[in-house]
Amino acid sequence: MREGYLIALAGNQNSGKTTLFNCLTGSNQHVGNFPGVTVEKKEGRIRAHKDAVVVDLPGIYSLSPYTSEEVVTRDFVLKEHPDVILNIVDATNIERNLYLSLQLMELGIPMVMALNMMDEVRASGNVIHVDVLSEHLGIPVIPISAGKNEGIADLIDQLMKTAQGGKMPAKMDFCSGEVHKAIHSIAHIIEDQAKEAGYPTRFAATKLVEGDEPMEKALRLTDNQCHIIEHVVQEMEANLQTDREAALADMRYTYIEAVCQDCVVKHQETKEQIRSEQIDRVLTHKYAGIPIFLLVMLLIFWLTFSVLGAPLQKLLESGISWFSGWLSSSLSQAHVSEWLQSLLINGVCAGVGSVLSFLPIIVLLFFFLSLLEDSGYMARVAFVMDKLLRKIGLSGRSFVPMLIGFGCSVPAIMATRTLSSERDRKMTIILTPFMSCSAKLPIYGMITAAFFPRHGALVMIGLYVLGILVAIGSGFLLKSTAFKGNPVPFVMELPAYRLPTVKSVLLHMWEKAKDFIHRAFTIIFIASIAIWFLQSMDWSLNMVTDSADSILASIGSLIAPIFTPLGFSDWRASTALITGLTAKETVVSTLTVLTGAANDLQLSTALGAIFPTPASALAFLTFTILYMPCVAAFAATKREMGSWKEALLTALYQTAAAYGVAVLVFFVARVLM
């Protein structure tokens, strides 16, 4: 037995679930994944009742076996046996929200319903008779308005009462006629097996009528039982002249319509719904919709990277360099050994510092992203851009994360968290780094200055387009191999526009910043030390004075021949590609150091020696922008994919694709140039 209470928070997307969760728990949250899937799991303790843990389950519309989010929810409730299910329902959209409630009630767990957005219902002159609703459903219903923090205290009281009392939903039959008959005769047949497998009989029977395969397997039915069940269901289908899935959906909605008839008095749409329709006349306008979206994104990029981000980044950089200088002088005063000084200054401070300086950009991007998401605009973007991404097996939802990829892959990969299907999330994570990020700009600058001084812009645009083409090609490839099978259908709600709450936006930013800082001091910290070690030591573990003698240089020489098909085999190029893993712009500094160039002109001349032809320089540039992203982005990939194996496979795929495309570019360029 666990101590304290476990509360499972379940509800539709856009029902205000996250806002309610934040209301209940404050900043007292822990974010992780459900085991085995990349579905986010948030946990927190109720502020006034530290013994009550709330788990925020994914936003879902049903308990079908088709999406990992729905399966996770159902497994969590059935296996963890929470003391209470807290079901949040959007009162302005009550019919569709109650559809999930009816399914949750079958799970045989005490349940409390939080009827959210009641302020909007009241403001528009509509009425919901909460007591009548509660009586119909047989569970306590508490009207709240999570955005305004109304009704939360009542809700917590009720949750505690229900958790202590353990009162089940008053057994209600939502079904009538043929469906009723079928569910009850099947319940009778499987009762023992359901108990043995730990499922509520009623839930198991309903799922069997629906033709739910996981349930069929879990109950270990005999052939004979399967046969009888099939017969019962077929008889129901014949009598209703419809199929099993439609029959059950219809039964639930029919019941809901009857309940709403009794307790909902709706004169008109809410103000928010009317306002949303008006806003959409502009934002999803036939001609203005796409330009407005592009302007919004441009504004976000401009604010993030130039207006606000750049000064903050400069400030942080000077802070880090001040710290590093202070550390350096204190270390030499204390006569700390030279290698340790170098490790701390050139390894840790330089490595972690360069990654940490991206923090303002990431926090700012997430500030804007949560505004887009919480206001409801993100769903409109998906609506407007869906057609473009559909061909590569994704939906419009992936568009914004991919676009963010042109700024920085790290927040782009982290932003995939809001995608509603696991498959889309993973595919987007793999494709996003092909969008050329801002850290690659110095590399463009270096190579074009040396080899294509008059066609710099053309080469740059060409490579941006190439990155997009590789992403599209990869989309086609992944769609028909690793991500074969039906994509999650694009059937998406367009929620009413709402003002994001300050609390939600701040919590979201804080959570992402914390996540990034955590990674900077773990995986990025270790990677920085490793690269420093390879760069500063020779094989007999003595510090080197000339970096050409380092372990890294010899590894560079060792792998150099791999790049012969790309037209270059100089060890300095391959070494730069290795150090580029810490941060892509490091490629430039490594090449500068290794060639001993004192200025840009010398660097250009030296690069001429490393890359014998412009074609090989172009192949190098192609490989550099496409191969696996920097360690910070890799760490984000690992975090979002949830497994080392999948993150490594992703990196391997990206590097292989980069290699193949670079060989091709070299070949074509040699013919043309």
């Binding site: 049903s62 079908s64 959209n93 219809d250 719904q273 306008h285 869906d386 367009l494």
Partner: protein, 77 residues
């Protein structure tokens, strides 16, 4: 006739929902069940997907999926 053939502003009553597996279940779960009244509100700038209004909320689905929903036309709003 099918749902994708309606123009913005037109509505109808669902007769049957086709498709299979995850798609069909999702359509039903979102409330596109037989006898439900549904309106087409808008078409996305690139001509697809379409925006629907049903059960007092707004839903978007793709044309190819809307083509699997059989409806009875009902004029006006």
């Amino acid at each position: 006739m099918t749902l994708d053939s309606l123009k913005p502003g037109q509505g109808g009553i669902i007769v049957s929902v086709g498709g299979e597996g995850a798609l069909r279940r999702r359509l039903l779960d979102m409330g596109l069940t037989p006898k439900t009244r549904v309106f087409v509100r808008k078409v996305a700038p690139m001509g697809d997907p379409i925006e629907l209004y049903l059960r007092s909320y707004v839903l978007t689905i793709r044309r190819e999926d809307a083509a699997k929903i059989e409806i009875r036309e009902e004029l006006g709003k």
